[in-house]
Amino acid sequence: MANELIEHNPLLKKPLLTILSLAERRAGESRSSLEQTALGSWDDAYRQSPSACVDILLRGGALGEQVLVDGEPYDGTIEDMQFDDSVSEDAVAEERLSVTDVGHELLEAYAPGRTLRALIADRPLYRDVFAAILDACDAEQGATREELERIVGDMPQAQPNPVTKRAAVYPQYFIDALESAGGIAWQGTWRTTDAGKAHAAA
């Protein structure tokens, strides 16, 4: 069920995993600092702000939050604290984020090496096609969609059934699967990712 956080927000997959990964690497860092760090490499295509993504991960249980008041743990949320008369007006509050078990599961589930291995292991019939795409995208200029369509279109796995003339899968199937598994990434052309290169080398 944890995966639904990503599967139901596919356009947010990259920013959510970016925040999670950052939070894992910088355990104990304050929320504001983490968001500021994320903003440094934030992509316009991410659609939501780092802050909105943190909120999503908090609501989804992938991140945990500890509020510190004057450096001491506070039993409640930042909103609770703001309405808490027992907290002095000039108290210094800070939110610290931590990756929960759910968050760790997500990072593991979407680790490119793992997803790529699973994709290709689950579809032995298409192994050659995946390999051909990883190879083509590893070219200096990467590969365009049209180039990949030509490469895949010539392979026996993509040929239509001679009777029905229906293709079981189109080239987009392979492109989509490899991108979802983290083997290739779109950078104006399709490029093989580090995980994809590692898999191809192996």
Binding site: H8, N9, R59, R145, T164, A167, Q172, Y173, D176
Partner: protein
């Protein structure tokens, strides 16, 4: 200006108001309950604007009273030839829909995760650019297959807008929850067989019933018998179809109603057959058998103007061409001549020297045996006795016989209208075949008083103004490329979908679920609430939660926007839009009466997206703005609403008034007006197959089919299945495309017992059907207080015998459960349905959008949680129809109403109109 404080409701009744609109931001919930005090202005001059309604498909003439830029009153237009001043609850709810506080007022972007129901207002420019950025990236990354667009029948006149956009986009998929489940089977199949028109009373082609009282009596033959098969005009079209059918019935027209429900039309019928849901084709086969066995069919018409005497190749199922047997030309068919006792070529239209056998099996010159098409039909239906049909359909054989004879007595000034009911089950294509065959057998085609007529709204370019590029022109540069058209999901399996350029919804869902054969990534949707309207809605929800980008265009917040969308684009109500509509022999105009907030006609959403794609380098999008490429017929895409309106004016002028210099101003200056006299309008249909052919005046025009005769033995179905070539000459998608092979489709109708049958299902013993209500059109108007007061929750109709069996009483809240889910309704114990038959209409509860779990809004009382659209339940072969009616369920008593639903009139107060100024809409703040 003096003002008077009054209650909001009183304000509506007075029909005069003025106040500022509150801009919307924050959650939908806060918007739902926020009500500003209403203030009535002292009267200023009221302008009466003649326009046309679009609360449903009837397009009734309306007069909108506009004061200080606000619509304050609606009334039926007495001069409209079809509704003659009548207006129904749906149309009159137009003001409450227009000024509903639940309007989507501005482009909105979701903040947070899907379903979080948190939104921020953004500009049109930002919305269009952000959406176009994603689209352009996916176009480059994965190609046109990455996009799926959809629309709905909920009052949307721009039905083909998504398909037009996809033709520019260059591929992808389009779906509509009606389509294979509503109207496509009839619209396509009946036309294929009778070469004239379908028989849908709700959708427009049945114009004959309007002529009495308009056409001079000396020229008018009123319909003598009307068979309404799953048709309830008193429910679906009170002001128009319901009104004229009532008038005809009061003036002596006999009626047969075939419907599981006792509708007002059924109550007044000469015979009401309360058929078991899903068994209509069994009954049709029995009617065919009875008519053939008792030689009631129209001898002259069937002999000269149908393919029934033609000999059929038993191996292929196709009618022989004379050239196949060396008897004549390729465009001639083969008959068995009585006089010479031999096979002869039958030229078009008919060789009077020949006397063709209608029945029999004959040995051909090549030694093969061949039956006439009529003999094959006779053999095919021979087992279907009245008793057998009565047994299957839960009817009485004597009642069936009485119904048939009432129909036959009225022929040929009679006919059958087939409603949506049969489109919503696996026998959808066969039912449309059966309906068409019966009227053909009885010669009820293009005769005075017959239901099937050849009227102008039904010739090309059809009565939708905005059309996909290249729809009628295979060589148009912006027509969707053939390889992309062939790749539409579910299309090769269900080629009838091609008639509407549509894809197969369950196959689209499967592609999203599995990535095979490719995964659509972006969904752009324009309609009310797919989660309420699509079968097996839970499956739909789960699939659409995983697409990368969801854009919802609509007038009001629904669960589709709240639970699934990433961007929400405000769309105009019918009172805000410009359009044109044929009304018998006149053309009427929809004049914008006001334009609120930043809402725009959906044609502009698509245009602006095309313009944004053009800016990013999408060549076909660039071409769509080039008049030399787009051409005058389809027009370019539009950067402003004025450009669009001028195209509407041009369309009407060029196609109906033979003027190619019209724009909106010229159309507006004279509309509504006659484009021909009513006498011409009537006469141009009657026996029009006998009129001189336009290209060869020495021959009669015939019918719009391959053989130019009616084709009750529809061997074109075999070709359709094999090649995708849509038979006939007047179809919406030209027959030049050749698609991959799939199964043959059957030339004759056949009956399949519903996949889930109450005859065998012991776990779910009751059979569920649904049907229209007068208060709503599809998923619309569930958030207008006027309509919800009248029908606050869905009634579960249960026969007293069944109610006793289950142990429930009138007013009990119930659980209805199928193998796919469970939902609620409220018991109405009534003999208006037969024992074991349960009726409940689709429903959703906008009030629950304003709750902690907006998903409940589409779940708590929605029978589409129970219906089918999964692979386990077979689809219709031709159209891929899934089953919405005739599924099995079980019923148990519930503890009470679903928590949080509104049931009392005062509950709906938060939805009372929120008056707002004429802002000029989104067109005033953005142009591409």
């Amino acid at each position: 200006m003096a003002t008077t404080d009054i209650s909001r409701r009183g304000f509506v009744k007075l029909g005069a108001f003025a106040a500022a609109a509150a801009a919307m931001s924050g959650s939908v919930g806060s918007n739902l309950v926020h009500v500003e005090p209403a203030v009535a202005a002292e009267s200023s001059e009221t302008q009466k604007v003649r326009t046309i309604c679009r609360a449903c498909l009837n397009n009734c003439g309306m007069i909108a009273h506009v004061r200080d830029g606000k619509v304050v009153k609606l009334e039926g237009d007495p001069d409209d030839p079809m509704n003659k001043g009548a207006a129904c609850v749906k149309g009159l709810a137009g003001i409450q829909a227009l000024y509903n506080p639940n309007r989507i007022k501005y482009p909105m972007k979701r903040v947070g995760e899907r379903g979080s129901n948190e939104w921020e207002r953004i500009s049109w420019e930002q919305a269009i650019n952000e959406i176009a950025d994603v689209m352009w990236e996916y176009y480059q990354k994965e190609g046109p297959k990455s996009l799926v667009c959809s629309t709905g029948g909920g009052g949307n006149p721009q039905f083909f807008s998504p398909a037009r956009f996809l033709s520019v986009w260059g591929g992808g998929n389009f779906f509509e929850p009606g389509c294979a489940q509503c109207y496509l089977p009839r619209n396509h199949m009946e036309f294929c067989l009778n070469g004239t028109a379908d028989t849908s009373l709700a959708d427009g082609p049945v114009t004959e019933v309007y002529l009495p009282g308009i056409l001079p009596d000396s020229l008018c033959t009123p319909t003598k018998t009307y068979v309404m098969w799953g048709v309830g005009p008193s429910y679906h079209g009170i002001g128009s179809t319901g009104r004229v059918v009532t008038d005809l019935r009061n003036n002596g027209m006999k009626t047969v109603v075939i419907d599981p429900r006792l509708t007002p039309d059924a109550a007044r019928a000469d015979v009401w057959l309360a058929i078991r849901p899903g068994t209509d084709v069994a009954l049709m086969l029995a009617w065919m058998n009875y008519i053939i066995e008792n030689e009631l069919w129209d001898k002259d018409f069937c002999r000269e103007w149908t393919n029934l005497p033609f000999l059929v190749n038993e191996a292929t199922g196709l009618t022989y061409r004379a050239s196949d047997l060396g008897l004549g030309a390729d465009d001639e068919y083969v008959v068995w001549d009585k006089a010479t006792n031999g096979a002869k070529a039958m030229p078009y239209p008919f060789d009077p020297a020949l006397d063709p056998q209608m029945f029999g099996t004959y040995e051909l010159p090549n030694g093969e045996k061949a039956r006439t098409a009529f003999q094959i039909m006779k053999d095919h239906v021979a087992e279907w006795t009245l008793d057998k049909a009565a047994d299957i359909c839960w009817l009485n054989a004597d009642d069936i016989e009485k119904a048939i004879n009432i129909y036959v007595e009225g022929c040929p000034n009679a006919g059958i209208s087939l409603g949506v009911a049969t489109d919503q089950a696996r026998n959808s294509a066969q039912a449309a075949q059966g309906d068409a065959i019966l009227d053909i057998l009885m010669g009820c085609i293009r005769q005075p008083g017959s239901i099937v007529q050849d009227r102008p709204c039904y010739v090309e370019p059809c009565n939708y103004v905005v059309q996909p590029f290249g729809l009628h022109h295979p060589d148009h540069p912006l027509r969707m490329p053939e390889e992309e058209a062939n790749a539409r999901l579910g299309y090769t399996e269900h080629k009838g979908l091609g008639h509407w350029l549509a894809s197969h919804i369950p196959t689209v869902l499967k592609a999203i679920e599995t990535g095979e054969p490719y995964r659509p990534r972006i969904w752009i949707e324009r309609s009310g609430n797919k989660l309420a309207m699509i079968g097996n809605a839970t499956r739909f929800y789960n699939a659409m939660m995983t697409t990368d980008l969801n854009v919802h265009m609509y007038m009001h917040w629904t669960t589709t926007s709240v639970c699934l969308a990433d961007y929400v684009l405000p769309t105009a109500e019918w009172l805000e839009t410009a359009y044109a509509q044929d009304r018998l022999n006149t053309y009427a105009i929809r004049r914008p009466c006001t334009q609120l907030y930043e809402c725009v006609d959906e044609c502009m959403h698509w245009s602006w997206l095309a313009a944004a794609l053009a800016e990013r380098g999408h060549q076909r999008a660039i071409d769509s703005f080039n008049p030399d490429i787009a051409g005058k017929f389809y027009g370019t895409y539009w950067r402003t609403y004025e450009e669009y309106k001028d195209y509407v004016g041009y369309f009407v002028g060029s196609f109906y008034y033979d003027r190619d210099d019209w724009n909106w101003e010229k159309f507006d200056a004279q509309a509504p007006s006659e484009y021909q006299t009513i006498e011409e309008y009537a006469a141009k249909s009657y026996n029009s197959h006998l009129f001189p052919d336009e290209d060869n005046p020495s021959l009669p025009a015939g019918f719009h089919t391959t053989s130019r005769r009616c084709e009750p033995y529809f061997d074109g179905n075999i070709l359709l299945g094999n090649t995708g070539a849509v038979d006939g000459t007047g179809t919406m998608e030209p027959a030049s495309d050749v698609y991959p092979k799939s199964d043959n489709y059957n030339p004759l109708p056949y009956y399949l017992e519903p996949f889930e049958s109450p005859l065998t299902d012991t776990e779910y013993p009751y059979v569920l059907t649904q049907g229209r209500l007068p208060f709503f059109h599809h998923g619309t108007l569930r958030n207008t207080p006027y309509t919800r007061e009248m029908y606050p929750y869905p009634e579960t109709w249960i026969n007293p015998e069944t109610a006793k069996e289950i142990g429930i009483e009138n007013g009990d809240w119930l659980w209805l459960e199928s193998r796919r889910g469970k939902t609620q309704g409220r018991a109405r114990i009534t003999k208006s349905v037969a024992p074991k038959v349960i009726y409940q209409e689709r429903y959703w509860n906008p009030e629950l959008l304003d709750s902690d779990d907006p998903n409940r809004a589409w779940q708590v009382m929605n029978i589409n949680l129970l219906t089918q659209n999964n692979d386990e339940c077979p689809f219709n072969d031709v159209y891929g129809t899934y089953t919405l009616r005739g599924i099995t369920i079980k019923i148990t008593k519930a503890d009470g109403a679903p928590e949080g639903v509104w049931t009392e009139p005062e509950d709906f107060t938060p939805w009372l109109p929120e008056p707002s100024e004429n802002t000029g809409g989104g067109n005033a703040v953005y142009g591409a």
